[in-house]
């Protein structure tokens, strides 16, 4: 615990140091920038709502990635899994003849899990059956998912008379997930994210399956002890990861954009990869780091509005955070070895 606190302290110092340096190089006022990012994320309920609406998909993707990292899989295909989840949800939402919004939304929920999960299974299958490393398989499938969503938006699902990357037609109001009174984040989204976090913790830390997964991830030969094959665990973990990412896609469609857009994943899959690495694969840190990244994402909008700085700086800051984490992890490993 003491070492964890020390790492967090050291990491924070490095993050702020790096970030201040980047801001100085960009000619930005350092304190004013930090202040504006903070206020931009937390100064009103609207801003906190916005942070939470970024936090939710980040949490879902991160929880999914924890499964695959446990199995020692690099699930780069998480982006495509979000996209396919969103497509699955949209496909269900377009089914004609169902009158009850709750029923359609429930269908969309499961369709998104299925869409993401199957896309994950495909990456897993490529690894276990085809010998394609999951990084390359995942990357390839991300491109395929991107191509597929573009085809749908510019083709069969385009708005009447309009083919634009602004997306499909807006969903009817009764298919928008409801929000807390006075808030603008979907209640269901927050509940789903928290539930998935708790389930992930219970599954990975408390269940026999979770322990097996960890053992096999660290040493595939351990599978022999359990009289099973590591492939089975790889596939299970990547299906669950894809399913969680798919749920993020469902929420992006029904709670954020209310339509399908080409960049529906918003890059949250890649961001979640960085986040999980930054956490050192500890579930307990994920909600806090997701909150940090989400607030940075939302708060950084203030940089162009108030200080006329390019908001791409937030990406640089995120990069600094990850570099800091990798540096600390690297140093720790070096210390262990020596």
């Amino acid at each position: 615990m003491k070492r964890l606190s020390l790492d967090i302290l050291l990491g924070s110092l490095l993050v702020f140091g790096f970030t201040a340096l980047v801001l100085l190089i960009a000619g930005a006022p350092v304190l004013a920038s930090f202040k504006n990012i903070w206020l931009g994320a937390f100064a009103s309920t609207s801003k906190i709502s916005q942070v939470l609406s970024v936090w939710v998909p980040l949490m879902l993707c991160s929880c999914g990635l924890i499964y695959t990292f446990r199995a020692n899989l690099w699930n780069i295909g998480i982006e495509g899994q979000v996209t396919m989840g969103a497509i699955g949800a949209m496909a269900a939402l377009r089914i004609p003849g169902i009158e009850h919004p709750a029923l359609i939304l429930t269908l969309a929920f499961f369709a998104s899990f299925l869409g993401g999960g199957l896309w994950g299974l495909l990456a897993g299958g490529l690894k276990t059956r085809g010998g394609v490393h999951e990084i390359f398989g995942g990357l390839g499938l991300n491109f395929v998912a991107q191509g597929f969503i573009l085809w749908l938006i510019f083709g069969p699902w385009k708005r009447p008379g309009i083919a634009s990357m602004s997306g499909t037609e807006l969903l009817p109001r009764d298919l928008w997930l409801s929000t807390f009174p006075g808030w603008r984040v979907a209640t269901a989204g927050v509940i789903i994210a928290v539930a998935v976090l708790i389930l992930t913790w219970l599954f990975l830390e408390k269940s026999r399956m979770g322990i097996k997964l960890k053992a096999i991830g660290q040493n595939p030969k351990a599978a022999l002890l359990y009289a099973t094959s590591p492939e089975r665990y790889y596939l299970q973990s990547i299906i669950i990861a894809g399913g969680c990412a798919g749920l993020a896609g469902f929420l992006q469609v029904t709670a954020v954009y209310h339509r399908l857009i080409p960049s529906i994943s918003s890059g949250y899959g890649y961001l979640a990869l960085l986040l999980v690495m930054l956490s050192g694969y500890r579930i307990i840190l994920i909600p806090f780091l997701a909150l940090f990244f989400a607030s940075l994402n939302v708060g950084a909008i203030q940089l162009p509005i108030v200080l006329q700085l390019d908001s791409a700086l937030s990406g640089v800051i995120q990069g600094c955070c990850v570099l800091s984490a990798l540096l600390i992890l690297g140093l720790r490993q070096k210390r262990k070895q020596s």
């Binding site: 206020l39 100064a43 991107q146 008379g161 083919a163 603008r184 949250y268 909008i301």
Partner: protein, 394 residues
């Protein structure tokens, strides 16, 4: 020791309090704050820059006015950020009027207008205001760029030696279809009425990239599309997108010795990215429309309006009074300049009316019978490209 700890603690608390002070003072001190949401970068040499500079002109000419803005408002550049969220932020900084400068913001601006009935909204270039049920605080503004594009098409046809003109289109909607059609009508007029050539010898090909500007991996690459046009024999490319790739490619080709030109779009200074290859540019001046709505808001005379402003034909390049202008480029020869001036005069006095029958749609169905002239609404809602044009209508 105890004292210094207390002072340090007080300094810390003061620093935190300072850090957390809400930041509304600077904007609130201005008399009238307006917000501008731009779909592209404020320095794109195109659509968004034209809006940005109009906003700056407003600050100069309407005392006490102050613009707050954010550019690159699109899901690819700002993932997860929605229009209603940005509007709320601008309102919290004191904005009394919000301008959304893209047709693609239609849904977001409509939602924001319903959420903020006390704030005025200008949406460019939708037509919500024509719907009696739309919110009263939402107006639409657009310029009659059809005239600018007719002039662009005219200049292109006067210049082409191969008889092949390429039109680099953004996405397919009513606005882009009518602008591409206007270009074609201008080109067709020059080709058949001025040059007295056979209409069948003119090729006018439209290629849509999928959005108003390049988004790698999502849209077609406008640089590649422009290159393809030139490689397949076109010697003039007219751009209908917000950025200047067509002109940049033409300029490179020209430097390599090819006899090609291009016509950018939207922004007065667009030719500067490739002056030697620039035939001219049709551009918007948003000052007049902005000033109309902002003054009405300040004077409490706001009305829901759908404003489609045309050129000031008497002084077309007056940026304060003419919403639509056309700037001749270095690559336009003097003969074309003379003919173009006569063409513009004809458009201005009504002696030349290009949306007049007989005109057919691309699928050969009748758009306008002989003797018929299109109404504004027929042009605004043009359902497909015209006969004689190549390219997708849907």
């Amino acid at each position: 020791m105890k004292q210094s700890v207390t002072s340090m603690a007080m300094a810390f608390v003061a620093a935190v309090a300072l850090l957390l002070t809400p930041m509304q003072s600077s904007a609130a001190e201005e008399n009238f704050v307006f917000g501008l949401l731009m779909v592209g970068p404020s320095n794109d040499h195109g659509w968004s820059q034209a809006h940005f500079e109009a906003g700056k002109e407003i600050e100069k000419h309407i005392p006490g006015s102050k613009m707050i803005y954010i550019d690159k408002v699109n899901p690819a550049d700002r993932p997860g950020i929605t229009i209603p969220f940005l509007v709320e932020d601008l309102v919290s900084k004191g904005a009394k009027l919000i301008i959304g400068n893209s047709n693609d913001m239609t849904d977001g601006i409509r939602e924001a207008a319903m959420l903020h009935p006390d704030i005025k909204f200008i949406h460019i270039s939708g037509d919500d205001a024509l719907n009696p049920e739309s919110p009263d605080n939402l107006s639409n503004l657009m310029g009659k760029m059809e005239f600018g594009q007719m002039m662009a098409g005219f200049a292109a046809a006067m210049t082409t030696k191969t008889g092949k003109i390429g039109y680099l289109g953004p996405l397919i909607n009513d606005e882009t279809k009518r602008l591409a059609a206007s270009c074609y009508l201008g080109a067709h007029y020059a080709w058949t009425n001025v040059l007295k050539k056979d209409a069948s010898a003119l090729t006018f090909k439209v290629s849509w990239i999928g959005f108003w500007f390049n988004i790698p991996g999502v849209t077609s690459d406008p640089t590649q599309v422009a290159k393809n046009f030139f490689d397949s024999g076109a010697d003039v490319v007219i751009s209908g997108i917000d950025t200047t790739e067509a002109l940049i490619v033409a300029d490179q080709k020209k430097k390599e010795g090819a006899d090609v030109t291009a016509i950018p779009y939207d922004y007065q200074g667009a030719c500067s990215t490739g002056p030697d290859a620039c035939l001219g540019v049709p551009y918007f001046n948003w000052f007049k429309g902005y000033a109309h709505f902002i003054n009405n808001t300040i004077n409490n005379t706001w009305e829901k309006e759908w404003l489609w402003l045309g050129p000031n034909w008497a002084d077309m390049n007056n940026t304060m009074t003419s919403t639509i202008s056309f700037q001749n480029g270095k690559a336009m020869n003097s003969e074309t300049q003379t003919q173009l001036a006569a063409f513009a005069k004809g458009l201005g006095d009504g002696s030349i009316s290009l949306f007049s029958g007989p005109l057919n749609f691309q699928d050969k169905s009748v758009f306008l019978k002989k003797g018929e002239t299109a109404t504004d609404m027929q042009i605004w809602n043009l359902p497909q490209l015209l006969e004689g044009m190549e390219g997708a209508s849907k």
